[in-house]
Symmetry: C2
Amino acid sequence: MRYSHKLSDAVHILAYVAIYHDDDLSSAAIAASIESNPALVRRLMGALRRAELLTTQQGSATPQLARPADRISLLDVYHAVEADTPLLHVDDKTNPACIVGGNIQATLRGAYAEVQDAAERQMAAITLASLIVDIRQREQQRNHA
Amino acid sequence: MRYSHKLSDAVHILAYVAIYHDDDLSSAAIAASIESNPALVRRLMGALRRAELLTTQQGSATPQLARPADRISLLDVYHAVEADTPLLHVDDKTNPACIVGGNIQATLRGAYAEVQDAAERQMAAITLASLIVDIRQREQQRNHA
DNA sequence: AATGGTGTAACTTATAAAGTAACATCAAAT
DNA sequence: ATTTGATGTTACTTTATAAGTTACACCATT
């Protein structure tokens, strides 16, 4: 498969909405910033809306963050767009007639769950607000140079 | 793409070598346990050998762990087989002529590095030895029922 | 030398992500 | 009320990566 950019693009959308709240927030405008296409943006916005991170309105391009950026975590966004795709994947096609093949799936599910939990705890500690601060700081530095 | 099972299959190989050390350790035998094919097993064993986790010999099927299982971590295996594939992927095709598109790549690289570090710390805390203990315990329970 | 496995490369297939197109639906403007 | 323009969603196509397959030189043991 290709590497998924759903999380990156979803964060991009939220940051774009937060920063450009007074400008054109159409899916086409956001797609131009992502260098992607409007349908992808609308699909991701749909997932963000269902996760209650973003409010949108059909017909008019006026999406808004559903709550302040300091109360939206990277984990919230991850759950919104990658809920059913864990970071590590168990091979579920092993031979049950073998000590290893018959048990390693459950063993790895446990181990991977610990890794996933650690990653998600870190994601929970990163807010959209902090990401936006970082984006703005980098923009300052770009304009300085 | 398809979901990568490299890490799972590499752990499978190491556990198989550790548990079945007196039996047939040919790539074909291990492939049968993974329900995969010998070439995949040999490719993964090559990566494990290059990472100095496994010793193999051409011509004879006698691979061995390069060091005790309690000194091989899940992180070691991850680095061996997925070194160049981080858990989260930045979209590197965003529009630089935009505050968000021009800076979000660097911002997300930083955030994702923190997530990766948290995940890797947890992987480092999980040893092959503990996974093998878990596999054996589950086998006991299977035989009990 | 013969046998049988490894190590590795080239090619094919499968599958998930992203791109594309189409269109009903809704909101705003006139 | 009708027109306009964007959304929400689906279906289909394209692309990229993992896994499967094949082939064969190489090595070790017999």
